[in-house]
């Protein structure tokens, strides 16, 4: 019940930020249009842009809600409900966006493995949301968080995916799955990409669990029984 309440409140708050949502929707589209004439690049940057947008949305939601979250914790919410509710709300919005971009990719490009393209976008979304939350919980401030995401994700865009260092970047899975989905390479590339997404997700989950225990902690007290008689 608490998780659903948080998800509902987060969704309502996000939906009211229309201009911010519009800009985040435009972000992957702008990347896509810049590379539209090369199918592989166009779809890869579209997926990376989706991950970037999801990470940004998660970052700002997390940082903006930190004070409210403290209060909700005092009121009786669990840290787990707060985090899962927020992830549910942002992921749902990201999924809606993903479906739209999947349709765009199918209609506008020559796509052989539609499921593979969907998997690329899903990897971007599943890593992007916890990545934004992680950066928000660690840095606690919008500007610092936005700059950190720009450093991470711009580096992701600029780095040659074949270089070993690229494997250490959070959204490498998108490029790994793309090799299978778009360049029709063998399944090893798909497995490597999904394994990278799974490992990144596991690592981010661990960091979120640690930092949420720190940021949303209610310190120990000795309970007093409540009794009152007139």
């Amino acid at each position: 019940m608490q998780m659903i309440a948080i998800a509902r409140a987060t969704s309502r708050g996000l939906v009211r930020r229309r201009s911010a949502l519009l800009l985040l929707t435009v972000l992957p589209l702008a990347f896509y249009l810049a590379r539209r004439d090369v199918t592989h690049s166009a779809i890869v940057v579209l997926a990376l842009g989706l991950g970037w947008a999801a990470a940004m949305l998660s970052l700002f939601s997390t940082v903006n809600a930190l004070e409210l979250d403290h209060r909700l914790r005092v009121a009786g919410f669990s840290a787990r409900s707060i985090l899962l509710g927020r992830i549910l709300a942002i992921s749902s919005m990201g999924l809606a966006l993903m479906v739209g971009y999947l349709v765009l990719a199918v209609v506008d490009q020559d796509v052989t493995r539609l499921g593979g393209v969907a998997l690329m976008m899903l990897c971007a979304l599943l890593v992007g949301v916890p990545l934004g939350i992680t950066v928000g919980l660690v840095l606690k401030r919008e500007l610092e968080g936005a700059l950190a995401l720009i450093i991470l994700l711009a580096t992701q865009f600029m780095t040659d995916p074949e270089r070993p260092v690229a494997h250490w970047l959070p959204l490498w899975s998108v490029r790994g799955v793309a090799d299978w989905a778009l360049d029709l390479k063998d399944r090893t590339f798909l497995v490597d990409g999904l394994a990278h997404a799974g490992a990144t997700l596991a690592l981010l989950s661990l960091v979120i669990a640690g930092f949420s225990a720190l940021r949303l902690r209610i310190h120990r007290y000795r309970p007093l029984t409540s009794s009152w008689s007139d």
């Binding site: 019940m1 608490q2 659903i4 309440a5 948080i6 509902r8 409140a9 309502r12 708050g13 996000l14 009211r16 930020r17 903006n64 809600a65 004070e67 409210l68 403290h70 209060r71 909700l72 914790r73 005092v74 009121a75 009786g76 919410f77 902690r217 209610i218 310190h219 120990r220 007290y221 000795r222 309970p223 007093l224 029984t225 409540s226 009794s227 009152w228 008689s229 007139d230």
Partner: protein
């Protein structure tokens, strides 16, 4: 409708007076104005001030003198609380107790650690030394923040109701009733970010008491309140006491300290 009448009705509606009652009060004002052959503003003064006076009179009075809470059990007990930020000692060996049905004011100079003390009580700040004993069910009203800019008041009520597994409908009904006791009728159109400072603070107070806590921690809850709302808040504090809620309130308004049971003064900060 003249400006005075229009302002009068609007001010009554903002103070949670029903439309029927508002119309009746306006009719009475018109009648008296007609009898005396004067415009209502000359008889009653500014419409908002007159509406405020009537709205407060219509609400439930604070009632009989309050019983002292000597026999009740403690809702909060702090023992030897100390807190330091870097080199600055903010709290030094603070010991206090708040019983059920008792209100205690915390006063002190700026920087004396009043807000930190409340955060220690709430559990969001860890003391360096000392122990906190308290009831589990706490309502916390921070000095600022604590609301979501893009949610309406009603959506806040629904969200906070989930803290104690209450339904959304119950949250809405309780929130609107508590808001009315502070002379406020929440609009379903405006988000918290669009509310005036005083109204947003009323939302803040209502959220603190929404689940009927055993202990209320209030950090200067009247910021931005007009005089009428300020009086309503103290009336509300009296009601909480009557119900057995322990109230710890950080305040700068030293003129009203006769309304609390005890006062704790924190030491001035070290230079």
């Amino acid at each position: 409708m003249t400006g005075w009448r229009n302002n009068f009705l609007r001010a009554l509606a903002e103070r949670a007076v029903s439309a029927e009652m508002g119309d009746e009060l306006l009719r009475e004002a018109d009648l008296e104005a007609a009898e005396r052959g004067l415009p209502p503003e000359q008889i009653f003064g500014p419409a908002t001030a007159y509406a405020d006076q009537l709205a407060r009179a219509l609400r439930v009075p604070s009632g009989s003198p309050l019983a002292l809470a000597e026999q009740s059990s403690p809702a909060l007990r702090l023992n030897g609380i100390s807190k330091r930020y870097g080199r600055r000692q903010v709290l030094n060996d603070v010991t206090l107790e708040v019983r059920h049905g008792e209100s205690v004011a915390v006063v002190g100079a700026n920087g004396s650690g009043k807000s930190t003390l409340l955060k220690v009580c709430a559990g969001t700040v860890k003391p360096d030394a000392g122990t906190v004993e308290r009831t589990e069910h706490v309502g916390y009203v921070p000095q600022s923040g604590g609301t979501a800019e893009f949610l309406t008041a009603t959506e806040h009520f629904e969200l906070f109701a989930a803290a104690r597994q209450n339904s959304r409908r119950r949250g809405r009904a309780t929130g609107e009733r508590l808001a009315a006791s502070l002379g406020w009728s929440p609009s379903s159109e405006h988000t918290a970010g669009q509310l005036s400072g005083g109204t947003r603070q009323k939302l803040n107070v209502v959220l603190g008491e929404l689940s009927g806590p055993d202990l209320l921690l209030l950090d200067e809850p009247y910021q931005g309140f007009d005089h009428g709302s300020y009086i309503d808040l103290w009336t509300q504090i009296d009601r909480w006491r009557e119900k057995g809620t322990g109230v710890l309130i950080v305040t700068h308004m030293l003129g009203d300290l006769d309304r609390v049971d005890r006062i704790i003064e924190l030491d001035s900060p070290e230079d």
